[in-house]
């Protein structure tokens, strides 16, 4: 242990320093910082929601408002077709929308990372095959694949997550592969190999920590896309009817004639919520990429 501890400590302190440097660079970008703060606030609100708000307001049989009433003192953003508060629905919608966004992004990033690292690390025909495989999926229109999947699988949040997650990974795989290649060309990897480090060691100790920052940045961007994809699938009628998401709130407003009635308060809040959250994710993701992606750095 004692012999291994010193280099590990060095590695950790280096890593800490690098994280601090990254953070400073990141915080230097105002847009990214603002995005991060607002995004953090949104996530915190979504998590704490059961403590500060009552879910029963989402039950149509418990709705107290008049249907499609414009914003009033009681209902700041008016009510929906069944007299429920649009504010309440938009706020609660964040939970499942973000859940879908994060889970789908996680799924896609895990797949992408595994394929990306495998393609870069092992070389030979494995790499060639995986690369072709990735390229194949990269050019396929992912939304169309997602629609096909959700049309074929039973309806539910799980299906939406799988449909988005299974179709959004190729760009991550490409990115991770490129980064892995860069890392593995560094001399210390060769040293590690020479010292008898196996594949697992090299990948676990050197490659993964090296690609992680980039993967993180990528995840942020994928979450935003997943939120939009979720709303789009709901609009196309292949979403999950059981859970309140922004897509569902929008779809039900459109299905129930909210636009004809001029009930803008039914259509704008969930739409704007999507735009804002996706924008936050994009800002943070861009900020992270600028700092972390060597190719985008000047």
């Amino acid at each position: 242990m004692t012999t291994a501890e010193t280099p590990r400590q060095i590695a950790w302190s280096r890593r800490r320093a690098s994280i601090a440097r990254t953070w400073q660079e990141f915080a230097g970008q105002r847009a990214a910082l603002v995005g991060l703060i607002l995004l953090g606030a949104t996530v915190v609100v979504a998590l704490l929601l059961p403590l500060i708000s009552d879910e029963s307001g989402l039950d149509v049989t418990k709705a107290t408002g008049e249907p499609l009433s414009p914003p009033t003192g009681d209902f700041w953003l008016g009510t929906d077709n069944f007299g429920r508060s649009v504010l309440l629905m938009t706020v609660w919608g964040s939970r499942i929308s973000l859940l879908v966004g994060f889970s789908a992004a996680l799924l896609s990033v895990v797949i992408g990372t595994v394929i990306g690292i495998t393609a870069a690390h092992f070389g030979g025909w494995v790499s060639a095959t995986l690369l072709r495989f990735t390229d194949f999926f990269l050019v396929l229109p992912s939304l169309i694949l997602a629609i096909a999947l959700s049309a074929v699988l039973p309806k539910g949040v799980g299906t939406i997550i799988v449909a988005i997650g299974l179709t959004a990974w190729p760009s991550t795989a490409r990115l991770v592969r490129a980064q892995t290649l860069t890392i593995e060309s560094r001399p210390y990897i060769e040293r590690s190999h020479a010292l008898g480090g196996g594949h697992l060691h090299v990948i676990g100790k050197h490659v993964l920590p090296g690609v992680m920052p980039l993967v993180l940045a990528n995840t942020t961007l994928v979450v935003g896309n997943a939120v939009i994809a979720d709303a789009t699938l709901s609009f196309l009628g292949v979403g999950d009817p059981n859970s309140v998401t922004w897509g569902l709130v929008l779809e039900s407003a459109l299905n129930n004639g909210a636009i004809s009635r001029g009930a803008w308060w039914n259509v704008l809040p969930p739409g704007i919520a999507i735009v804002l959250v996706v924008l936050f994710f994009t800002l943070v993701g861009r900020g992270l990429e600028t700092v972390l992606n060597p190719r985008l750095k000047k």
């Binding site: 847009a31 229109p141 179709t167 760009s171 196309l236 999507i274 735009v275 994009t282 990429e289 000047k298």
Partner: protein, 341 residues
């Protein structure tokens, strides 16, 4: 589903600049594209076969059918045979332009016909939106890069990122409400337009405005941001310093050296991102009743009319693969660095 600028990383210049001869390169790329198209066919075939239930039972439901007819259908679709035999049959038919028959939307009509009549509206919409998005995106991207961190740069980047975050169908509906009857809300033709070519063309353009604007509003961001970042990358390159040292005026340095070099990867990306525009067309066509493949998808989803979905998706995905092939070849033709090597 890639973030705006990230796409730039997806092009690996080293791979596209192999030292092989042009003929071999072209052949290799074509072969790869063919394999991809076959994979597309396989993928969608098995995806839609995963759905439980007997396709023949589903086809004959609610209509008078004799046992003999059912037997014929079974024979034709080959449902009793092993799945790979069915696939062989499907693929063989496909090679002869037979994509099967619609069941719900247009009973018994060949899917290939339905796709054929919807193809041109989609090409018109996707094509015009792509061209406009590229022109606007590249122009704004160049401007923004030239005046990096200026008010123009920051506002334009902000607007682009915001539009990029908008769900397309929502934007379409908002435009429909906001323009309030200024543009037609449905379809591609007005039955009242005079029959002469000019009036017909103007009529189609009039109908094209809203769906086209909706599509391009979301996609131009990508082209703009890619152009901006690749131009920024080029502007620090050594050869520009050399060019400046030769006494070339700054704007000429940019225009003649930086822009074309940055233009190349961007142009290829236009083709690579074609799939996203096609995806976008699905929702936009549904909102504006545009009589294209997207609308067909939307209609078919409500059945669902699986043979139609399978056919449309196969065609769309293959089109994207082919566009990508075109991009690869174009890159080869356009990039002077490749040609001279």
């Amino acid at each position: 589903m890639t973030a705006p600028e990230q796409a730039a990383v997806l092009v690996d210049p080293d791979e596209r600049r192999g030292g092989t001869g042009t003929a071999r390169f072209v052949l290799k790329k074509i072969l790869e594209a063919v394999i991809s198209v076959v994979l597309v066919v396989v993928l969608f075939f098995f995806l839609f076969r995963m759905l439980p239930g007997d396709p023949v039972a589903a086809m004959t439901r609610d209509r008078v059918t004799s046992p003999q007819q059912i037997a014929e259908l079974r024979e034709k679709m080959g449902v009793d045979k092993p799945v790979f035999v069915q696939f062989g049959q499907y693929f063989w038919n496909l090679l002869h332009g037979d994509l099967g028959e619609s069941r719900l939307l247009n009973n018994g009509r060949p899917v290939a016909d339905m796709i054929g009549e919807r193809l041109w509206p989609t090409i018109l919409l996707v094509g015009s939106a792509t061209i406009l998005a590229v022109v606007i995106g590249l122009w704004l991207g160049i401007r923004a890069a030239w005046r990096r961190d200026s008010l123009f740069d920051r506002t334009q980047t902000g607007i682009a990122l915001t539009l990029w975050s908008v769900p397309q169908f929502w934007l379409g509906l908002m435009l429909l409400v906001v323009t309030n009857g200024l543009f037609p809300s449905r379809g591609m033709h007005s039955p009242d337009a005079a029959p002469d070519v000019l009036s017909q063309t103007l009529d189609v353009l009039h109908h094209l405005v809203l769906p086209c604007v909706t599509l391009l509003a979301v996609f131009y961001a990508q082209y703009m941001l890619i152009m901006r970042s690749s131009l920024l990358g080029e502007m620090n390159a050594d050869y520009l310093t050399t060019a400046r040292a030769k006494g070339l005026r700054e704007d000429l340095v940019r225009r003649r050296h930086a822009v074309p070099n940055a233009l190349l990867p961007t142009t290829t990306l236009v083709f690579m991102q074609f799939g996203m525009v096609v995806s976008g067309a699905v929702t936009v066509e549904a909102v504006f009743s545009w009589p294209g493949l997207g609308q067909l998808t939307y209609d078919a989803l409500h059945g669902p009319d699986l043979p139609v979905l399978q056919g449309v998706f196969t065609v769309l995905a293959s089109a994207v693969v082919l566009m990508n092939l075109l991009a690869e070849l174009l890159y080869r033709v356009l990039d002077p660095r490749v040609r001279t090597s």
